[in-house]
Amino acid sequence: MIVVAFIFLSSLASAFCLASGMARHQRDLFGRTLSPRISAAARGAGWGLMGIAAAIGIAAKGWAVGIVASLALVQLGALAGVLFINRILAPSRAR
């Protein structure tokens, strides 16, 4: 259960970082675009967090079940991230 929560939170954070690396979502979230270096760092952090999500899954449940469970959680985490970003963090701009 705790493992699932950790993988999900890493996936959610990963989606948030990846979105923060994109100009459209920077405008939605921060009201302005960020410098290319910060954008690249955000994208790097996003991929890193996705790797951490996979690593936690594999460490806890072995290669076969771990990869499958992590992949499912990364997808759902990204979806939750999209809802979070567009519905809660930047609803006024999305409207």
């Binding site: 259960m1 699932v4 989606a15 990846l18 979105a19 994109m22 459209r24 979502h25 449940k61 072995g62 076969a64 079940v65 499958v68 469970a69 992949l71 499912a72 959680l73 997808q75 759902l76 990204a78 979806l79 991230g81 999209v82 809802l83 970003i85 567009n86 519905r87 609803p91 999305a94 409207r95």
Partner: protein
């Protein structure tokens, strides 16, 4: 050329998605629900869970008594413990079957089980639309079109990476398209896996060539479906010398002690017992099968089956057939598709991902009509209004209607009289009657039907515990009190779904106004 190619892909995605989306919506709703089909069966059949070895050994004792009181020493018999079911043949070779009470003995009574397909209704709806072998072929074809829709969808999506996290809400048609894209693109690996593995499980029906070449097709395609081909016998046989596995000559009353021994040796709960004549060798076999359901790694270890041989009778563990890489791959495909590994974690992930799949299909269907209404597209000239109205009604029936009919099936299970002669079939009939009514409703009130059907489904989900308490005296609080967690989970999950559907109904009602 690129424009032309993309245009033809758009046409294929639009029309293939619409016509096959009607089937896919129902298949996905049923498939999502049947992740929990065993739990739903437990809720519907009001069956006590057999959770300890002592309970299961006693249940086997009652099952044996049930058979022997009707046919002393039958030549062939079966006991399937999860359903409390027994079947046997009498001296004249005639088949009998029945349900026993696993707690008090004797025939099943209302408090310890009611006749029902339970969650299996959703399984059957999912893989063959309750239509037998032709249904399997139809679902297979629909699934192939789904794979086509994945490819065409990726081709026509111009900004697949740029828009990967984009969801512009409250913007009409734009929002439906964003929702469809986000749901499809972000969970594409899951949806693709589900479609592909779904086809792979039925390899013997969809790609029968290899099996036919090696083993022939004695019963035709249909015969393969019924698992009577020599292929399946060969797969099951294993490497042990069949002559040494002749059934021990023991009465049914010896079974409880043997079951206790089998559970001790395997560490797994017993699932079935049978005494049968094997088709391929004509040898009499007496076997105990252990459950292989949850919390398993990938690929799943072979099921543990014991043969009961010799005098005094002893348990010999049946060796698994050597299937090679193909068998192992099929094993992984089947486990992936049916969430038969990784325990409850995977079941929940599959359930939520399945809901996202339903959203993907539903938003796709909605886009078809929303787009045409917004742009005044009328491909069929004067016939367009009537045709679009029929399309809207089918969208309503296959998305909102199938949802409503699914919860109506839960209600039918509790409301239909217990002594109704064909109760099991009547529950399924109730599902189809409600479903047909949702189509009529969609035809007559296309503007309001979405909100009304989701609203009614929400109300029925949220009041399910009240209905349950009124008809059986049970509700989620009492399930929790006596530790019946699967039934508890079903009822609470249905209520959470009800809340979500209520929110959906309210926002749809607001949008329409």
């Amino acid at each position: 050329m690129t424009g032309g190619f993309r245009q033809s892909m758009t046409w294929l995605h639009t029309w293939g998605g619409l016509v096959f989306g009607w089937f896919l919506s129902v298949i996905f709703i049923a498939g999502t629900i049947c992740v929990f089909n065993h739990s739903i069966s437990q809720w519907m059949r009001v069956m006590p869970a057999l959770s300890t070895t002592e309970q299961r050994v006693r249940a086997v004792e009652f099952a044996a008594q049930y058979i022997e009181q009707r046919t002393p020493s039958p030549s062939r018999w079966n006991i399937y413990l999860p359903d409390h079911w027994v079947g046997w043949r009498d001296a004249a070779g005639e088949r009998h079957e029945g349900h026993f009470d696993p707690v008090n003995g004797g025939p099943r009574r209302a408090e310890t089980g009611r006749e029902s397909h339970g969650g299996y209704h959703f399984v059957a709806l999912h893989y063959n639309l309750h239509s037998g072998f032709p249904g399997i072929m139809l679902v297979g074809f629909v699934t192939m079109v789904m794979l086509v829709a994945f490819v065409t969808g990726v081709v026509i999506h111009r900004r697949i990476f740029k828009d990967i996290f984009t969801l512009r809400l409250f913007k009409g048609q734009r929002s439906w398209l964003d929702g469809h894209n986000v749901a499809s693109v972000l969970t594409l690996p899951f949806q693709f896996m589900i479609a592909y593995t779904g086809l792979a499980i039925f390899h013997y029906a969809y790609m029968p060539g290899a099996i036919a070449y090696h083993y022939g097709l004695p019963g035709g395609l249909r015969g393969q479906f019924n698992h009577v081909g020599p292929y399946f016998d060969a797969r099951r046989a294993g490497t042990q010398d069949p002559a040494q596995l002749v059934a021990a000559d023991v009465p049914l009353s010896a079974m409880p002690a043997l079951v206790r021994e089998a559970e001790r040796r395997s560490g797994r709960p017993v699932e079935w017992l049978s005494r049968q004549t094997e088709g391929r060798t004509g040898i009499e076999r007496l076997r105990i099968g252990m459950s292989n359901r949850d919390s398993e790694p990938l690929p799943r270890p072979p099921a543990v089956t014991f043969q009961i041989v010799g005098a005094p009778p002893q348990l010999v563990q049946q060796e698994a057939a050597e299937g090679g890489v193909g068998e192992a791959s099929l094993n992984v495909m089947g486990a992936l598709h049916e969430a038969r590994f990784g325990g409850w974690t995977i079941k929940w992930l599959w359930f939520v991902s399945g809901i996202v799949g339903c959203v993907m299909i539903a938003t796709g269907l909605v886009i078809f009509t929303v787009k045409r209404r917004a742009r005044g597209i009328a491909e069929f000239g004067a016939a367009s209004p009537a045709l679009f109205r029929a399309i809207e009604a089918l969208n309503i029936a296959t998305v909102a209607g199938a949802t409503l009919a699914s919860i109506a099936y839960f209600w039918a299970n509790r409301l239909l009289p217990l002594d109704l002669p064909s109760r099991v079939a009547a529950e399924v009939t109730a599902f189809f009657i409600v479903w047909a009514l949702t189509l009529l409703h969609g035809l007559t009130r296309p503007d309001r039907a979405w909100a009304e059907q989701f609203g009614l489904a929400a109300a029925m989900c949220l009041t399910l515990p009240l209905l349950n308490a009124a008809t059986t005296g049970d509700w989620f609080g009492r399930y929790a009190a006596r530790g019946a967690w699967e039934a508890f989970g079903v009822e609470v999950t249905v209520m959470v779904i009800g809340l979500a559907l209520a929110g959906l109904a309210f926002s749809l009602a607001r949008v329409r106004r």
